[in-house]
């Protein structure tokens, strides 16, 4: 959490995750290069550096595709929440792999002329009016610049100083980077590689990412819970509320509300985490605190305040239980306001 800044907030889990991530990357690169050499089509000859260019290019594409799937998948199943927790490390690693790919391409294909290699990327192929001959490298370079901005501002320092809203808006640029990457591959590798595997991989990546994001987005579009006559919102029957978990309700106005059950008590807080806007209602109660599923930010149930020394606060809401059904008042209390929980079994 954010009372001071460290380069990386290491935990044993993060270390284990990064170790397996690096092993996976090394295995992929070695297998791609070795198998690529063994199954090389007759008559085709590629230099070792070209093999590394292809290996890093395909790996960066696959990793970015996976990264963009993590968010929607984590909303569908808890199995992907550990990846969500470590998505930043995966994102920065993807940028570094893409950087190696770009550096090798620029050195290998543009480094032997008198023109500055970076300038050469932009001027060596001026066929911007041709689809088949489009200077696809420029698309990749723009995507790389966006990934650099993501990686450079991935630290909580930037999130805190830009504000979660601006930070989130900035990081949505990764979607544009992915579309540029799709165009980069479609107008580049797909034009030269006749194997249908590349087309299939590209189409599958674009399909899965688009379907997941549109699917989860449309699932909550226009979804509003209708208030009862006295303005309170029905949440669920007590029996349907899982312990240490929440039900999310969406009032007609304002942000969604997460209504948690902790043993015999029910409390309600804003569904929006102060850190990066994570969906608190998809998290759970850990050590008596509501814990965000994205990065583990915590809030006390009784007042929506992060435990000391942290200072984040979220809005609380009044709840009540009538005939075994939980209701919430959609008018928020100011962030950090103590709110007595409703006791299960104490209702009329």
């Amino acid at each position: 959490m954010s009372h001071d800044y460290k380069a990386v907030q290491w935990t044993p889990f993060k270390k284990r995750f990064d170790r397996w991530m690096l092993i996976g990357i090394a295995v992929y690169l070695i297998l791609f290069i070795v198998l690529g050499g063994i199954f090389q089509p007759p008559g085709e000859s590629i230099q070792p550096v070209q093999a590394v260019i292809r290996a890093t290019g395909t790996l960066a594409f696959l990793l970015l595709t996976f990264i963009l799937c993590i968010g929607p998948l984590a909303r569908l199943t808890d199995r992907f929440k550990p990846f969500l927790y470590n998505r930043r490390h995966l994102g920065v690693t993807t940028f570094l792999i893409a950087l190696v790919h770009a550096a090798l391409v620029i050195m290998w294909y543009h480094g032997f002329s008198e023109t500055n290699p970076l300038v050469s990327v932009f001027i060596s192929n001026p066929r911007y009016d041709s689809l088949a001959g489009f200077p696809f490298e420029v698309l990749g370079l723009v995507a790389l610049i966006i990934l650099f901005l993501m990686a450079a501002t991935s630290h909580d320092f930037w999130n805190a100083n830009l504000g979660p809203g601006t930070w989130k808006a900035l990081h949505m640029g990764v979607y544009v980077a992915y579309a540029l990457l799709i165009a980069h591959v479609a107008l580049g590798a797909i034009q030269f590689e006749k194997s249908p595997v590349y087309v299939a991989l590209l189409a599958a990546g674009a399909s899965v990412v688009t379907a997941l994001h549109l699917g989860t987005g449309l699932a909550t579009l226009g979804k509003r819970d209708r208030a009862e006559t006295d303005g309170w919102l029905k949440v669920a029957a007590v029996a349907d509320m899982e312990d240490a978990r929440a039900k999310i309700v969406r009032p007609a106005d304002g942000e969604a509300i997460a209504v948690f059950r902790d043993g015999s008590q029910v409390t309600a807080v804003s569904n929006v985490c102060r850190h990066q806007g994570g969906p608190l209602g998809e998290g759970k109660i850990v050590d008596g605190c509501i814990t965000c599923p994205w990065h583990g930010f915590q809030y006390r149930m009784e007042d929506g305040q992060s435990p000391p020394p942290f200072t984040e606060k979220i809005a609380t809401y009044a709840t009540r239980i009538v005939e075994g059904v939980v209701y919430v008042n959609p008018d928020p209390n100011p962030p950090g306001t103590p709110q007595a929980p409703s006791e299960i079994g104490a209702d009329a």
Partner: protein, 49 residues
């Protein structure tokens, strides 16, 4: 995510999704049958074929 971000997120994918598929389809339909360097003399490209 805040409600406003959810809307923007959806809007972005409603635009990017079809755009990505359009690019892939156009790129596949327009790719050349064989890689030809049209700056080479005909005799050389014929010989290469």
């Amino acid at each position: 995510m805040k409600r406003a971000h959810r809307k923007n997120h959806l809007l972005i994918w409603l635009l990017l999704g079809p755009a990505m598929f359009a690019i892939i389809i156009l790129a596949v339909l327009n790719r050349p049958d064989a890689v030809v360097n049209d700056r080479l003399p005909d005799s050389l490209t014929q010989e290469a074929r």
